[in-house]
Amino acid sequence: MNHSPSTSKNNYKQIAQKKDPKRPLVKNCIRAFLIGGAICTIGQCISFFYMYFFNFTEQTVGNPTTATLIFLTMLLTGFGFYDDIAQFAGAGTAVPVTGFGNAVISAAIEHRSEGFVQGVGGNMFKLAGSVILFGVFSAFVLALIKTILLELGVI
């Protein structure tokens, strides 16, 4: 191409952007709302089930519910359905705890070929690791702020 490279690069970005298919934001949001909502509804049903049939309260039912959802995610991921649902649902499957489960499980399956220690062990938190790191860190910061405010008698 014989025009000067810097202008042509800028021009080209505009040409390419015009041709880039628009991401359907509204449609994606509606899908995410429906599927994400459905997952949460299932979670709520599981919670009621544990509270009704077992000795759990509203405060303690969180952990077994999460574990059950992650177990279901494991089955869906292992049998190869989760990524198809996720292509449809987007944030709807990524934001709930199932998204976290899928990130860990898919990485564990993927790196099975490199062995259990270096493969599965070394890589299963490849995607989810930063969620844990920043989750724990932000919890620490919030707890610190709360403690200081309590000590000062503000709250």
Partner: protein, 337 residues
């Protein structure tokens, strides 16, 4: 012989004697099923890993090409091939099994034509009499290396492309009957500062334009010389940009004769976003469908322009742009004078 700035015209055009094409289960449901020699119904091809599956596909394609010709394996002097996996792992292992002197090539999805151009030049210059050349890729092996684990649920935009699982190989010789390789243009790396790895067609289109422009200029011909110009894997987005760029450059690329391997290989109802991609994409389409059509004289003069996005997982994570390249090879039927 060098003509113009970066084109080789071959005085004794090498022949594509025979081909071998292998595909995976998803390709078996595609548009070009009839033009594959072998299709696997298992994504792992009976192997333990995706990378080994890629290796087996390439080995199978090579053996098919050799068996279809009357040249014994021992008389094939070089294997010129590459793939997408780290350090071309599958191709290295396949070359180890085949025991043919090996030249490894990597230009991402432009590997097929890079290899074919080199093979043709070696044969034309007398450095070899028969060379096996090709490229391969594996969807799951590429996904895990360039994107996320295969079962990870990430939503892809419509500009994304689907890596082809397949291997395409051609046996090139200085004698025999078949389509001839008449010229080759090796492209420059063109970087338009595009950064979205989910829109590689958009990144690669300028590289294709550059190579096509130079090829036509070097050979002193018009785009209408060719019955069709077939790009590697620009897919929907890249192809439509290329048509626009061509208009800007006053080169007439016709809507009906500008084809794209990434748009030919799958059926419309297969969910491949903008279209197919991967080193195997242009390889299986060229050595399968395209060579077949040439042999049946449905086309007589073709320009294959394989396009490659030279990104790596590292360059994407470090927020670098996507350097792109395109190599063009013209394949023509012998005109009897």
């Amino acid at each position: 012989m060098l003509v113009g700035s970066q084109t080789w015209e071959f005085k004794r055009p090498p022949t594509i004697l025979s081909t071998g094409t292998v595909g995976g289960p998803f390709e078996a449901k595609g548009q070009l099923t009839a033009y594959f020699d072998q299709l696997y119904d298992d994504i792992r091809c009976g192997q333990k890993t995706f990378e080994q599956a890629n290796q087996i596909m390439l080995e199978t394609a090579c053996n098919l090409a050799i068996n279809k010709s009357d040249i014994p394996k021992e008389q094939v002097q070089f294997l010129i091939a590459g793939d997408l996996t780290n350090q071309m792992t599958p191709t290295n292992f396949a070359a180890s099994t085949l025991q043919i002197p090996f030249i490894g090539t990597f230009n991402a999805c432009a590997t097929s034509m890079e290899s074919l151009a080199l093979a043709a030049n070696l044969i034309d210059s007398g450095a070899a009499s028969s060379i096996l050349t090709g490229a391969s890729s594996h969807n799951a092996a590429a996904e895990r290396q360039f994107r996320y684990p295969t079962e990870y649920g990430a939503q892809k935009p419509d500009s994304a492309q689907w890596t082809v699982t397949g291997a395409g190989v051609g046996l090139i010789s200085n004698t025999g009957n078949g389509p001839k390789i008449t010229s080759a243009t090796l492209g420059k790396v063109i970087d338009m500062n595009m950064t979205d790895p989910f829109n590689m067609g958009g990144a690669m289109a300028p590289a294709a334009m550059d190579t096509i422009t130079i090829h036509l200029k070097d050979r002193g011909i018009d785009a209408s010389y060719y019955d069709a110009i077939i790009t590697g894997d620009l897919a929907k987005v890249g192809r439509s940009i290329l048509l626009d760029l061509a208009k800007e450059q006053n080169i007439t690329l016709r809507e009906d004769t500008l084809l794209d391997c990434g748009l030919m290989i799958y059926k419309d109802d297969q969910k491949v976003f903008a279209g197919g991609s991967g080193a195997g994409c242009s390889a299986v389409v060229t050595y399968g469908y395209v060579i077949n059509q040439l042999k049946q004289k449905k086309w007589n003069r073709l320009l294959i322009v394989a396009t490659g996005a030279l990104l790596s997982p590292l360059s994407v994570q470090q927020k670098q742009s996507i350097p792109c390249i395109a190599h063009a090879v013209s394949i023509e039927n012998e005109v009897k004078s």
